[in-house]
Symmetry: C2
């Protein structure tokens, strides 16, 4: 089966089905091992796609990680609810779902690896820009609509919302996790409403 | 030198000088390797204190990590400036200093390891409680002084301040790091003042 798939896919690395399997495998492996264990051998093993096919498409494992994150990880560019409260709530809930989901460890790995390994930080800049730019755009749109004071610092708003959610999940002890999950969408509202009151002054 | 020190210290594991060296070594090693490479062999090598002496004092490497964090890492129990703005600013600035300091990687390691390894989460509960309880107490004191509405959620206030600072540092790209460091104490004021306006309603 693996051999047949490898045979049929070779030379067609942009086949969407192959990319799907590579990206799924990359995210799974990366979550399990982080940067330390993330390599073409592992992705080939988990995906069943030959190493040669991976090398034809990606010259460095960091590029493969960046593309997998862009395809399979946090995306906020489709969030545009029409008002800033809706947009920030969507971001907060998405993050809560990701952080408490079965691939939540990927989030932790990215945080650490981009901080510790300059090559990961550099290679994943493209993925990060795809999250940062649309997040900032939400705040700019809100200011343009008159929902937030002109000149509101988008970085501050995003740091408060994203940071609070992140800290909330990461510091909740295992024994309180069920309770946190029941209440987490209400918590998202508390965070967003507090931040909006704060920046509106 | 190492031999002499080992010889003179054996059987006196509570000697403050020995503890100092063990804790310094533990923090240094942990920052470098995280949980994956944190062990008695490594701490003995870095500190010059014999492994036997370490084993007499700590039965598991997670206990040693917990004690080293308590002795050498973030402590907020001595922060009591008399008002909530001063207290939260002190917390924010302390975190900014730690995150941008030469042992900043320790912070990232703790975040990841407590999320990924239940034994680390459990063993460091004591260290974490020593940070969480005094942080919450700041908010309770402020409510008692009438500076914050009665019933203000301490967890929310701390998540917003700590999370924003954390996200700010972790998402600043290397090329903007110098600028961030110049402005980071002003950023702490922006965060704290926004959060206080938000919770005051």
């Amino acid at each position: 089966m693996t051999e047949a798939v490898q045979g049929s896919r070779r030379g067609r690395p942009r086949d969407p089905d192959v990319e799907d399997r590579v990206f799924d495998a990359a995210i799974e492996l990366y979550g399990r091992t982080g940067w330390a264990g993330f390599n073409f051998e592992g992705v080939a093993r988990v995906s069943g796609i030959g190493k040669a096919a991976l090398y034809r498409r990606w010259s460095h494992r960091a590029q493969l990680l960046n593309d997998a994150l862009k395809a399979r990880w946090i995306r906020v560019d489709d969030i545009d609810t029409g008002d800033i409260r809706g947009d920030l709530l969507a971001v907060a809930r998405l993050l809560l779902d990701v952080l408490t989901g079965i691939r939540g460890e990927v989030y932790l790995r990215i945080l650490t690896d981009t901080g510790l390994h300059p090559e990961v930080h550099e290679a994943t800049a493209d993925y990060r820009a795809g999250v940062v730019a649309p997040s900032r755009a939400m705040v700019h749109r809100a200011a343009a609509r008159g929902e937030l004071p002109a000149g509101t610092d988008p970085g501050l708003v995003i740091d408060l919302v994203v940071g609070a959610v992140q800290n909330h999940v990461l510091t909740t002890p295992p024994e309180l996790r069920d309770r946190m999950q029941e209440r987490m969408h209400a918590y998202a509202e508390q965070v967003v409403d507090t931040v909006l009151r704060g920046v509106r002054g």
